[in-house]
Symmetry: C2
Subunit: 273 residues, 2 copies
């Protein structure tokens, strides 16, 4: 597709992976999506730590951090604004779920910066997806390659919404298809618990840490009705930074002071516009 700018496979040029890769057969791996500004991957150390933590949960050893950093730096060079995607799979395997010793496969891709909807700072329109997130504590929180739930959820709408929220099967709101969710309720910042499902975003972690200096900020279960009485709702990820929600199903909201203050505080860590 036209948005790819460069790719390295285990540090070498090449646009392909083996048909025997366990990433293809089973989604047996993890990934990171990282904003690039002025040739530099932002929040690199946080992304690397999450990748390593996810790989450990799957019982695999990713390539050394300094090698990943070198490959990432190489593909990002010369790109003022771009998206870095880092995929690490368990590597090439034989047939069957059981894995012998493998050498991980690292795919480092750099894409053109996406065209996000205009005026996102005025607040985006958000829907509730029909596709629910399954409870799977063994995989919850990590950014693994089994992403069919997100694919099905994102296929539910076209361009008429900026994001879709996903509930779990007990009607708790967990996250967006590609973002984490925050709400300001009773002067407290809340974001859903991700022990049973969801992806613990790098920007989510940074937002929780930053905001906790200003107001009570905690992980807490959220239901749709809680969102309907929130004074602010916003979404986060490493590319979009912080997007205020301007319309949640039928409810109109104004972008609020907490989202704005977070945007100002964290602007060095993401790519504006």
């Amino acid at each position: 597709m036209s948005d790819l700018l460069a790719v390295l496979v285990n540090g070498e040029s090449g646009r392909d992976v083996s048909t025997l890769d366990r990433g293809l057969h089973y989604g047996d791996g993890v990934f990171e999506t990282i904003a690039v500004r002025a040739g530099t991957p932002l929040l690199w150390n946080r992304h690397l730590r999450r990748l390593q933590a996810g790989a450990a949960r799957l019982g695999m050893a990713p390539p050394r951090g300094d090698m990943l950093k070198a490959w990432a730096t190489r593909v990002c060079a010369g790109h003022d604004r771009a998206v870095l995607k880092l995929i690490v799979t368990r590597g090439i395997g034989g047939r069957g779920y059981r894995s012998g010793p493998t050498t991980p496969t690292a795919v480092v891709l750099v894409y053109a910066w996406p065209e996000y909807p205009p005026n996102v700072q005025d607040g985006i329109a958000v829907r509730i997806c029909d596709t629910r997130l399954a409870h799977q504590p063994r995989l919850a929180g990590i950014k693994h390659l089994n992403r069919l739930e997100q694919v099905l959820a994102r296929a539910e709408w076209e361009d008429d919404f900026g994001e879709g929220l996903m509930l779990d099967q007990t009607d708790y709101v967990i996250e967006g298809t590609m973002s984490n969710l925050f709400a300001v309720i009773d002067n407290e910042l809340r974001t859903p618990d991700l022990q049973a499902c969801g992806v613990a975003g790098v920007m989510r972690g940074l937002v929780l840490e930053t905001a906790s200096a200003w107001l009570p900020a905690r992980v807490a279960p959220l239901r749709s009705k809680d969102l309907m009485r929130a004074s602010e709702v916003f979404l986060t990820n490493s590319l979009i930074g912080i997007w205020p929600v301007g319309k949640l199903v039928d409810r109109l909201l104004a972008p609020g002071p907490i989202a704005r203050r977070l945007q100002l505080a964290l602007r060095a860590h993401y790519v504006e516009g």
Copy 2:
């Protein structure tokens, strides 16, 4: 790995797929594992129908059945006993979960026949896995490429068991990591319901149809304690056919008459030994 004999990608020779394939990025696809005898993929029509049904559930159109058949026939030629694996992904995509129109990627692999444990007809030893299957009705029953649950479950043991059973999170027994489960209880054949999780195997369907001429055979919830009073327990898939369970955790069982009768009735449809 040394067990691969041949591979075609969209009908062409080649051992690689694009790093942009949605199968790698999201596990966005389906697969079939098919026994090959005397150069012929067994139960082809049933496998094709399940592949097509799974692709439809994911909103993708696989290549035409006659093309898949031609490719399968080509890679299987000359192999007396082998395993055919057919992977169909949504194809190459841009960054992000949303998919525009794509051309599916079909990977057709043929592997050497596996070395199964000896004396499986005397009954295999089966354990209960710690990894549970999540409830996800949108994906239940189909053989999709999001298989981390099976990878984690299979990593729990070495060679000391022939298979591991997986429970769901409400303590129902659903299936093995790579097989479906049957039990004869009160002179009735039962296999778990797969509306919330699990893969509806081709051999499972054939066993249900065949056995229902001899005894009541139905889909019904099963718990571990039900298995402990079953007169027979056996496992099925397209490669192993029917494997009697000889030891279930601590309980010893003898291979029973229903499993034996099914093996005789279905021997044309799988590869013995």
